[in-house]
Amino acid sequence: MALGGIRNIVVAGAGQAAAQALQSLRSGGYDGRLSVVGDEAALPYQRPPLSKAYLKGEFEQDRLYFKPGAWYEDQKIDVVLGTTVTGINRARREVQLEHGGHLAYDVLILATGSRPRQLTLPGADLAGVYDLRTLADVGRLSPQMVPGRKMVIIGAGYIGLEAAAVARQMGLEVTVLEMAPRVLARVTSPVLSAFYEAEHRGHGVRILTGVQTARLNGANGQVTSVVLADGTELPADIVLSGIGILPNEELAKNAGIACSNGILVDRDGRTSDPQVFAAGDCASRPLVHYGRSGRLESVHNAIEQGKLVAAAILGLPRPAEDCPWFWSDQYDLKLQIAGLSQGYDTHVVRGDPATRRFAVFYLKNATLIAVDAVNSPPEFLASKKLIISGAKLAPDVLIDTSTPMKDIAAQAAA
């Protein structure tokens, strides 16, 4: 259902979902007023390189931007940066801005993203303790990444491990601390966890799993060590926290919009208020290939929801919903993930992890629901199609490396 008479759209947030919504609205023919309000100082930019190539200093800041500044002028988009949206008055259809003033809207898109979960340990406010989420975070962290310095990373999720790989390659001494019994425990299987632990150890990263961090010690306001619950003290010049992210849903919640670990939206990205949409990390959406709802923290999700929201607002046909996908670069390993593995009942490994080229398939009721593909694009790309098709697959077919993935996919589709 198209919304009639829309002449004024405000986008709150300026990350990937926002950038996509702006592009899709304009390319979809919307020529009314369009504003974007972001709390960071920079134009919308790509976050994935912040823990990968950009952290390593491999390219300049302007290459992170989705679009150059001139594009926004050209597209007649009002860009308000360094400003937080502090409130929504749904009755008056306007948003309040941090520095005073307000913006009226016919339609509001919430693309407020997420924020790093904060360490609550004693000493967490010492200098030398960092998050890794924004360009400003990298701006603070990167001058400290000096060879020989001791870096302790709290949390062995993708951000923590990607940062560990970069820091190691830059010549820092790196220790990764993880509460769970293995790295990547929340997001993947023991097979992949064991592989990445071995890779990092092989590169000289010290990984301690099943450990509890008790406090951070400092001298003159600067962190000097991390102390574990068992009393072990690990010297640290730099502490990086990578313990997960939380959705920025408070703006919606305070305005009475339904939230539950994310702003609740339908397939079109519409919230409980039909004039308000949400997209990206902040939104909890129907996961149509999985028969449930959930929040995805990914580029694919931000792009797709940006497109879905724009299409719904403009009354265009709903774009196809792809199988969720992700990637992670560590050392020379490219991990490509398709699907969501939560709830799998069987997993099989195709190829030999010792060759650093293999894939782990996750099945539920004999149906493929996810794959983790290490240096294996065919396994990743074929699985994206297989997951959407819902075809039944025998594990022994999937692990038969004498049959190319392309043929396996073609046979399953036949």
């Binding site: 290459r63 679009k67 150059p68 240096n375 694009p377 065919p378 790309l381």
Partner: protein
């Protein structure tokens, strides 16, 4: 610097100036060339920046790495001159390059 011309599947041409060191994909995205989405931002993870390179320039665009080869193997309408534009780095040698975007990406 190099002048690169992007040609849509319907023949429409868009010549643009490209800075050395950027990828052809980045040049396309900065200039809003339709048909090059580049969802992954150049990480060779998505295959949404597939282009056809003018045969005369094919050797100057560099060797395809294993990763790109296997990503392309799954792209639609692949031809011998198919490349992922995120994997082509702009150099002076590419001045005059012409690339065409496949119809399936529009």
């Amino acid at each position: 610097m190099a002048k690169i011309t992007f040609i849509a599947h319907n023949g429409t041409e868009r010549p643009v100036e490209a800075r050395n060191g950027m990828s052809v994909m980045e040049v396309a995205v900065n200039n809003s060339i339709p048909g090059i989405d580049a969802d992954c931002g150049g990480a060779c993870a998505c295959a949404t920046c597939h282009v056809y390179v003018d045969e005369a320039f094919l050797s100057k665009t560099g060797e395809q790495q294993e990763m790109e080869k296997s990503m392309l193997d799954f792209a639609e309408n692949v031809r011998p001159n198919s490349r992922l534009s995120c994997q082509i780095k702009v150099t002076d040698a590419l001045d005059g390059l012409r690339v065409t975007t496949p119809e399936s990406q529009h």
